[in-house]
Amino acid sequence: MICVIKFLGSNCYEDMVNAYKKMNLDCQVIHHNDKSLPSETKLVILPGGFSWGDYLRCGAIAARSNIIKALKKFIDNGGVAIGICNGFQILCESKILPGMLLRNKNLKFMSMNVALKVQNNDNIMLCDYKRDSIINLPIANGDGNYITDQKTLDSMKENNQIILKYTSDINGSIEQIAGICNKDKNVFALMPHPERALNIKSFNTKFEDFSSKNMDGFFMLQSLAKHAMNKNLCL
């Protein structure tokens, strides 16, 4: 079963549920106050949004919620998790992933389609993509400027933990990083939204703006679920 965690202020959980329901997968929304994940959980998703209004720092309050403690246990047992946008910020704030996300360098909320380069594909999320291939995904964030210290960055490079990069410097992110994973490659995070633009109705048919290219996100969600479902976890 796929669990999508709903925090106060999450607003992308329904897109996520819809995306997986289209793939005929069992997907359930879990409340942030729950102290444990259902025993049949195979994949956990931290969706985008503005948990607790992004007060204090983005994701800082959500990172201290009950469900994150359960998530840490799940991850330690080899469970697969992904954080998208605000989910990325929550994973960094809860120290499950290294680094953190600052305000975009232009101080603007950025909502647009961006080109991304697949930096590493030796992981269960991007194994269906070719290394160095360019994919298109929508972003919508005010705090997507990834930062980490040089030592951590070097070790991330060494372990192929940098998985997606922007093709240009759009928000000040160190080395144009858009997505990362942990050392064990079972926790993933990215600022762009692969779950968006999976509905044909969201494609622009009036004029060619390449919005249909955003379908690229489908394959990473599919591959992640496929591999996560095949894992046998003892919870």
């Binding site: 204090l56 720092r57 800082a60 309050i61 201290r64 704030e93 680094g99 953190m100 600052l102 305000r103 975009n104 360098k105 232009n106 101080l107 400027n145 930062i147 980490t148 210290d149 000040g172």
Partner: protein, 83 residues
């Protein structure tokens, strides 16, 4: 005993805060003599503890755990007994 903790949290040196930078540029527009601006977040916390040392210990845990992020922040805690 009740103590009052003045907690100041600021961006670490060398880490660019785009907000701070934008405010600096705006201020410089008004007064050219301004050479630097620092944006500091201040919390005022009332805490019960049996000594000043313990109050400081408790506050340090709070700041490390949630109020500041060690990757980008430095902080100063000042403790005084509430009169």
């Amino acid at each position: 005993m009740t103590f009052i903790a003045d907690i100041e949290i600021k961006q670490r040196e060398g880490i660019l805060d785009p907000e701070e930078d934008t405010i600096f540029r705006a201020i410089k527009h008004i007064n050219e003599n301004v050479s630097n601006v620092q944006l500091i977040k201040k919390f005022n916390i009332e805490i019960k503890a049996d000594s000043k040392d313990n109050a400081l210990k408790e506050c340090t845990i709070l700041v490390d755990d949630i109020l500041a992020n060690a990757i980008i922040h430095d902080y100063i805690i000042n403790i005084q007994e509430k009169i």
